[in-house]
């Protein structure tokens, strides 16, 4: 890897005071950005500049900054989490950009994810879908048997684990032309449907989670496959197909 250098960029960022006001794109010039910095560090640098200029800093979501919490969102240059695959925004580095680049930064766009401020959106619709069925109601009164004592075929365990890698970041919704949440719900349905502990409640789970998903106002899946490509955790479309199967079984 070549040594880090400094680049000058132009940022076009969505600014919106709060959920009720109308927002718009603002342009900022930012000089001396190290290509070794992450995208979020670059935004920190911009905010420092804005604070020094006595302007309101840009609000954006972030937490762990190591690609596991799913907080950082951002639609960068027309792609969820920017121009790289298998990453969240905190894992996007400025070496992906060139000197003189103009970079668009926008919040996730979905009716179910309203903008709270600037680049921050309300993703509690995902929480409500989870609360509708994304759990196993095991008795944890103290005499529960150890989960590992139930034999699970390796193949199923692997698939369930891969589905459970979903961090609920919402990139699938943001990138889907229909604003559909089916990759998220598919992953959550799958991780339980594949395991013996989850099978017990599989019927109500899929019906309730899909009903909640529809009520939240997410769009319908048209199998474009964009979500699978933009998902930072590589959740497969097979999970949507599994949800479709589970839903059919549960409805008949």
């Amino acid at each position: 890897m070549s040594a880090a250098k400094n680049i000058n960029i132009t940022l076009k960022i969505w600014r919106q005071k709060n959920a009720k006001t109308k927002g718009g794109i603002e342009t900022y010039k930012l000089d001396n950005v190290s290509t070794a910095s992450s995208f979020l560090e670059m935004l920190d640098q911009l905010n420092e500049q804005l604070v020094n200029e006595r302007k309101e800093p840009v609000a954006f979501d972030h937490d762990c900054r190591e690609g596991i919490c799913g907080s950082c969102s951002l639609y960068i240059n027309g792609r969820a989490h920017g121009p790289d695959t298998g990453i969240t925004t905190c894992q996007l580095h400025m070496r992906m950009f060139n000197d003189g680049d103009t970079i668009f930064v926008e919040p996730w766009r979905s009716k179910a994810f309203p903008v709270i401020k600037d680049l921050v959106v309300d993703r509690s619709a995902f929480d409500r879908i989870q609360q509708a069925g994304g759990f196993v109601s095991v008795n944890t009164s103290g005499r529960t048997i150890d989960a590992n004592s139930i034999p699970v075929p390796k193949d199923d365990a692997d698939k369930a684990f891969m589905a459970a890698a979903c961090i609920g970041c919402g990139a699938c919704v943001a990138t889907c032309k229909n604003g559909s949440a089916m990759l998220f719900v598919g992953a959550k349905v799958s991780q339980y449907a594949l395991l013996p502990q989850g099978k017990v409640e599989a019927t109500e789970r899929v019906l309730n989670m899909v009903r909640q998903m529809d009520e939240e106002g997410f769009g319908n899946c048209t199998n474009t496959g964009a979500c699978e490509i933009e998902c930072p955790k590589g959740i497969s479309l097979e999970n949507i197909a599994r949800m479709n199967r589970e839903y059919l079984k549960a409805s008949l």
């Binding site: 179910a112 106002g217 048209t222 199998n223 964009a226 059919l248 549960a250």
Partner: protein
């Protein structure tokens, strides 16, 4: 509740899109097999017999009503889905780069489908409606030379060996021959039935000449080229619609696994290329043939 969800829920709507779509793929195969007869030399009688069978056979009737229902359901369901999907993103992106993660066909199914629907409407007006409802639908004739130098036009009867000289037959709405000429012996009633005028007895049945309608349509001196080009363009649109739609239907029905999905995807793409090309060859052949 669960039962009504099969119609109303997001996933339920997708099942219906998939099932009707796959049924329409089967319809395409059947329709194509029928149309390909037009490429055979001297196919006039065979094609008109086939057209008669397709419009009268009870089993075919059931299939054709299923096809009408499928087209309508596929279109209405598709429009409902497209409206919902539009509503799911009230504010769009200032900069979007969709080609980075999805194909052109997959992103434009609604537009492609609408164009196919427009084509189906024009196609039904030009052929289906004429076959079913046009009282002036031409009847099949053939030039026969029973003896040297006695060449003339004959209507072809459905029974083997039945021919009726054209100038002996009175068509519906046709005026009586001028005074001095003998009155015509035969008369066409109910579209294709041939009656003896004096005895008022049915003597035979004729064929509607869908073959002629088709050839005249694409060979029309003024518009034939445009009709042909519109047909070919519509088949290109259909190809894109199928390119995504075929394999998408299997995914919607939950049929996705590592072994079969690559085969389904390949079959879908082959179907999307071969079927529209074969359809498009027919009007091109007709238009440019002598």
């Amino acid at each position: 509740m669960a039962k009504s969800a099969l119609l109303k829920s997001s996933i339920g709507k997708k099942y219906w899109m998939a099932l009707t779509g796959l049924f329409l793929c089967l319809f395409l195969v059947g329709h194509l097999a029928g149309n390909l007869q037009l490429l055979m030399p001297n196919s006039q009688l065979q094609f008109n017999q086939y057209a008669l069978f397709m419009t009268t056979n009870p089993a075919v009737k059931i299939l054709s009503y299923l096809t009408y229902i499928s087209i309508l359901f596929h279109a209405v369901d598709g429009i409902l889905l497209a409206i919902q999907n539009k509503k799911a993103r009230p504010v769009g992106y200032a900069k979007s780069n969709p080609s980075a993660n999805s194909s052109f066909a997959s992103r434009n199914m609604a537009v492609l489908g609408t164009l196919v629907l427009v084509f189906i409407a024009t196609h039904m007006i030009n052929f289906w409606a004429k076959m079913h409802f046009d009282e002036k639908m031409p009847l099949m004739t053939q030039t026969i030379e029973p003896a040297p130098g006695m060449k003339s036009e004959y209507y072809v009867g459905r029974a083997v060996g039945q021919y009726y000289q054209v100038d002996q037959v009175k068509l519906p709405g046709e005026k009586e021959p001028e005074a001095g000429l003998p009155p015509k012996q035969l008369e066409v009633k109910n579209g294709t039935d041939l009656y003896n005028v004096q005895a008022n007895v049915k003597v035979g049945e004729l064929y509607k000449d869908l073959h002629k309608i088709t050839f005249d349509f694409f060979k029309d001196k003024k518009y034939g080229l445009y009709f042909t080009l519109f047909y070919v363009f519509s088949m290109l649109v259909l190809a894109f619609h199928l390119w995504h739609g075929f394999q998408s239907a299997f995914q919607s029905l939950g049929l996705n696994n590592p072994k079969w999905t690559p085969i389904i995807k390949f079959a879908g793409k082959a179907f999307a290329v071969i079927v529209p090309i074969l359809f498009a060859i027919i009007p091109l052949y007709i238009h440019f043939s002598k």
